[in-house]
Point group: C2
Chain length 413, copies 2
């Protein structure tokens, strides 16, 4: 079966909004066995939308339209689809009631415009919108199906997952599913990974492909089968063998993040953590605290940019701090030890370096970062260098120290 994604909205053509819905829909449709051959975007223009819709009807079985369902005059999707299909638009009292209730909950009267959103083409199924006013619509047209969805992703996604996918799987049974699994690796580059597991890259089901990500390598395993269980069964033995060969380097899978995995290891051990950051400017702490429940193990995160703070608060030796302008392996290590002591934590982390654009010297140019860990497994300090602009250096150094902390926690077992 072939699916086509047709986005409607002048803001997409003008580049004011990035069409993330197209990627989302492409992924979920392909996971459910649909071949997506075309994504098309047109503006808020009835004749171009009508033309694009006719073309899509001629070449696809399922057409998913996004956007243009709003209450204003330039929202044309409902009307144009009804016209192309030759179906009347009728006011749906149930939908109108829901829209009125939406405004009542907010304590404001429904603007007259919003009545338009209760107009439903004959024969369409209505998808409730729990987050906004425009309902989604599913229109069976002969063997084909049109799906109309509102543009805002937080309105669109629940409709797709709760209603559209189950509907399509039921209407077009026997479609294969595609299941993806992402294995996440730190401490090893893409070419090293390829040396150890490259022979799997030529498999066809599952396929295995590497992707370089900042500070990580991801291996994407994707299998097609008649159902999810069948696809998982194809993936399992390959995943097991890959994990065996990359033992100690795969920190997690799919949605796993280093900060969440590290948090879980700290919690299991009953350890606490304290972080002193200079060049990473709070990013290490932010990533750690983005994990719910991180207050259980994160005792203190401190951004100590100023030399005086490094000396007074963390106990970095004044002569070393001044000699090195606060950037050296000894400064990093005494920062890690100092924050650990100050917070009474099991493990202390520290970063110091030159994120740029200014600073640095011949020995330690911009991009140089010292990363230190102090804990029950001993003290470690390492020097790293990251190319790129300030934001990039900060992000890479943050990723690197979290990866090293993971390594440190795993090694200690």
């Amino acid at each position: 079966m072939i699916a086509e994604i047709l986005a409607v909205g002048t803001e997409l053509l003008l580049g004011e909004t990035v069409n993330s819905n197209a990627a989302y829909l492409g992924q979920i449709l392909s996971e459910n066995g649909f071949n997506v051959y075309h994504q098309v975007t047109v503006g808020d223009n009835a004749s171009r939308l009508s033309e694009a819709l006719k073309q899509a009807l001629a070449r696809a079985d399922v057409i998913v339209l996004t956007g243009g369902l709003g209450p204003t005059a330039d929202d044309l999707t409902r009307e144009t689809v009804a016209q192309v299909l030759g179906r009347p638009l009728n006011l749906d009292p149930g939908v109108l009631g829901e829209i009125e209730a939406f405004f009542r909950r907010r304590g404001v009267p429904m603007p007259e415009n919003n009545r338009r959103q209760a107009m439903v083409p004959a024969g369409a199924l209505v998808i409730r919108n729990r987050k906004g006013t425009a309902p989604g619509l599913i229109i069976p047209e002969g063997e084909k199906t049109l799906v109309l969805l509102p543009g805002p992703p937080f309105e669109l996604r629940p409709m797709v997952e709760e209603t559209v996918v189950p509907f399509l799987r039921q209407r077009y049974p026997g479609q294969p599913v595609l299941v993806r699994r992402i294995l996440k690796i730190v401490g090893m580059g893409e070419s090293q990974v390829a040396e150890l597991v490259g022979e799997f890259f030529s498999l066809s089901n599952p396929t295995v492909a590497p992707y370089a990500r900042p500070g990580e390598v991801h291996l994407r395993l994707a299998a097609q089968a008649l159902d999810r269980a069948g696809a998982l069964a194809l993936i399992a033995p390959i995943e097991e063998e890959i994990r065996r060969r990359l033992s100690g380097y795969v920190f997690g899978a799919d949605e796993a993040t280093v900060e969440a995995v590290v948090g879980e290891l700290l919690r299991q051990r009953g350890w606490t953590l304290a972080v002193a950051e200079s060049c990473t400017g709070g990013l290490v702490t932010s990533r750690l605290t983005s994990v719910a429940g991180s207050s259980d193990y994160l005792r203190l995160g401190a951004v100590t940019y100023a030399l005086a703070t490094k000396i007074d608060l963390l106990g970095v030796p004044r002569d070393e701090a001044e000699r090195s302008d606060g950037v050296s392996s000894r400064v990093a290590l005494t920062m890690a030890q100092g924050i650990r002591r100050l917070a009474g934590a099991t493990v202390g982390l520290a970063t110091t370096g030159y994120a740029g654009p200014t600073g640095g010297n011949d020995d330690d140019p911009v991009g140089t970062v010292y990363l230190a860990i102090s804990g029950p497994g001993g003290d470690r300090v390492e020097r790293a260098w990251f190319p790129g602009p300030r934001q990039e250096v900060q992000a890479r150094a943050t990723q690197e120290i979290l990866a090293r902390l993971w390594r440190y926690l795993v090694d200690w077992e």
Copy 2:
């Protein structure tokens, strides 16, 4: 003149990559007077690409193709375009030399595959790629122009700005330019803004439109004229009047961020800053340190999740900390005072609250955040409530305290 954007790549259809190039190109083409009516994406498939290209040639003057210029067999853009236009592909020794030099700089031999990237359709102009191996190509075809660009944005963007736009402006002179100006507002909601400046929303040149952003309102002024200076002259009087009416609420324009504006105000006054964060988990500090040169005024940022840290390090009264579980206006205020004293800074900031998903109580449900500022302008503490998941609460609270700090600094003048 009409432009069309044609993206090539199965990874876009599968949703593995979001097509941010389409938005970027849509913006820059419309700014340069081209009407973009269609964006189309096809996979790595010669017949569908060929068909889409013929359709684009029939309806647009300028066709910008992105992707499919890589060295592997599934990169088909060069060959397909040459075939549709009926032009031979010739090996360009200059391009080959550049690709060889690219690999030489990295100390690896050029893979044989990459020779394909030196094949150039007859009559095409070559755009050097400073960041990768695939050159861009400009192909004048009668009155029309085809532009072929590599997919990676960091390769594509310099080519567009340095070569494609100047080429198109010269080939199609007299096209109007569109200039945008974004005024950024904090401390006022969208409806309040509309009340004060809503009469400008019906203007046609410049157009004025409000956009709600988390914690900010943006006013977009866009004017079309024959050149940049003409467009700016249309914008200037409207901008001046809007700034007059919203005096004290417009913190900056275009790329300005609250954190950068706040940093500049601190620097001008010779003031320093210290931040104690609980529920925002380091985000306030990260945003402040994302500004180059922030080490000049940011003395200390501390994430003090643990009660013990709030008490021992910041001097929050133990009874109040324990009674309130660390979340109250008095805790926030003593945190701000404590961090200011600890760091010897001019101004202290503090956040404490329930970011969720757990925590909170009947009086202070999840989403409640106390924000405090202590400095020469006196002490301020406020209670705010933000709906949404953890990341959202943290981001909104961060935006809010930075906005309040801006207000505090402006008020002090």
